[in-house]
């Protein structure tokens, strides 16, 4: 099964607020609030760490979640954010020029 790589789009503005990550798409102004698990995935979306590794090491390492449930939830989350151009998704590592410089405070 091919790996999935995820990277934060540059066309967003994001901010950690009250323990939640707030993200706004600069393309369509949609607004998302991420919970703790989703925030962790978001922060780990560096373009070169496979999603499976993020789920296994970070999500399952820090939260008491069944690996299968965590994988399914992560895929759904990634799919939803990629629909709005907030996360970039590829089956190959994503170069830094396409990601990483999103406005995040």
């Amino acid at each position: 099964m091919p790996e999935t790589y995820i990277a934060r789009s540059t066309a967003i503005a994001a901010r950690m607020l009250g323990g939640e990550m707030m993200i706004m798409s600069a393309l369509d102004s949609t607004f998302f609030t991420l919970n703790e698990v989703a925030t962790l995935i978001w922060q780990a979306a560096d373009g070169h760490t496979p999603l499976s590794e993020i789920v296994e090491r970070r999500v399952c390492g820090e939260f008491e979640i069944e690996p299968e449930v965590a994988r399914r939830d992560a895929e759904e989350f990634v799919s939803r954010l990629s629909e709005h151009g907030i996360l970039l998704v590829s089956d190959r590592p994503i170069k830094e020029s396409n990601s990483g410089s999103a406005e995040t405070r």
Partner: protein, 270 residues
């Protein structure tokens, strides 16, 4: 507005401390301006923007754009609706307005120009009423029907009503100020041309009794962004608005104000 401005065929309208010079040879245009903006005429010598206005006679559709169009290409902005067309260079501040002889055209064009100007300065225009009481400004935001006009009507006599519809917020260093605007809602009268430091932001809801509750930071940001006026599908400006909203909430506390529609609610606002 004095006759002098009519003779000179130009006038500077300053809303939110941002002077915009309008030039137009058409008498009908000046009667529109006089009705809506007479309290906001400024003597400032150096306007932020200058627009040459042409009024079409007789009225006809100016643009085929049915909905509002706001586009930018670098410094150049194009604003269009059926009743007006604006070409504006945000860097030089100069532009042209072609419009029908209706007050709504110039009103909408000015609102858009102000949102763009403020986006670059950390300020914004907000769907909300605002008033000054005891030297401090209070904002009352909410969707249509939340109670903006109601709370404005209930304001005590000593309160200075800045607007019942569109609040104008500017940033100056760490301070945020609310300014009166001529952009009226159901109350159908322009606000006072005054300004004060903002003390609190309230998101309105009507209810059986008057209560004030703090709003979690994330919810406040979501509500604020939902109510900021913004017209342009421009990624950089969207980021600026997001930054402005965050900066504002770092300095101004947000609350939910549930109120029963009678004057007692103002006992809580001072």
């Amino acid at each position: 507005m004095t006759r002098t401005t009519q003779i000179a065929q130009e006038v500077t309208i300053a809303v939110g401390g941002t002077p915009i010079l309008l030039r137009c040879p058409d008498e009908e245009f000046w009667s529109i301006i006089e009705q809506r903006y007479s309290g906001f005429v400024s003597e400032v010598g150096w306007p932020a923007c200058v627009f040459d206005v042409e009024v079409t006679q007789p009225e006809r559709s100016i643009s085929s754009v049915r909905e509002l169009l706001v586009q930018n290409d670098g410094d150049g902005w194009r604003l269009e609706r059926g009743d007006f067309r604006v070409a504006w260079n945000a860097r030089t501040g100069e532009g042209r307005i072609l419009q029908t002889a209706t007050p709504y055209a110039i009103d909408t064009a000015l609102r858009i120009v102000h949102t763009i100007v403020q986006a670059t300065r950390g300020g914004f225009l907000l769907h909300g009423a605002s008033a000054i009481r005891n030297g401090r400004a209070f904002l009352f935001s909410g969707v249509s029907g939340a109670g903006k006009t109601t709370i404005s009507r209930l304001a005590p006599e000593e309160a200075i009503l800045l607007t019942d519809e569109i609040s104008y917020i500017t940033r100056s260093g760490d301070d945020y100020r609310a300014w009166g605007t001529p952009f009226a809602g159901e109350l159908a009268r322009p606000g006072e041309n005054a300004a004060a430091r903002i003390e609190r932001l309230y998101f309105l809801a009507k209810g059986p009794e008057n209560t004030i509750e703090p709003i979690p930071a994330g919810d406040a940001l979501r509500l604020l962004l939902r109510n900021i006026l913004f017209f342009a599908d421009d990624p950089e400006l969207v980021k600026m608005v997001f930054r402005s909203a965050n900066g504002f909430l770092e300095k101004v506390p947000a609350y939910r104000l549930t109120f029963y529609p009678d004057g007692r609610v103002w006992d809580l606002i001072q």
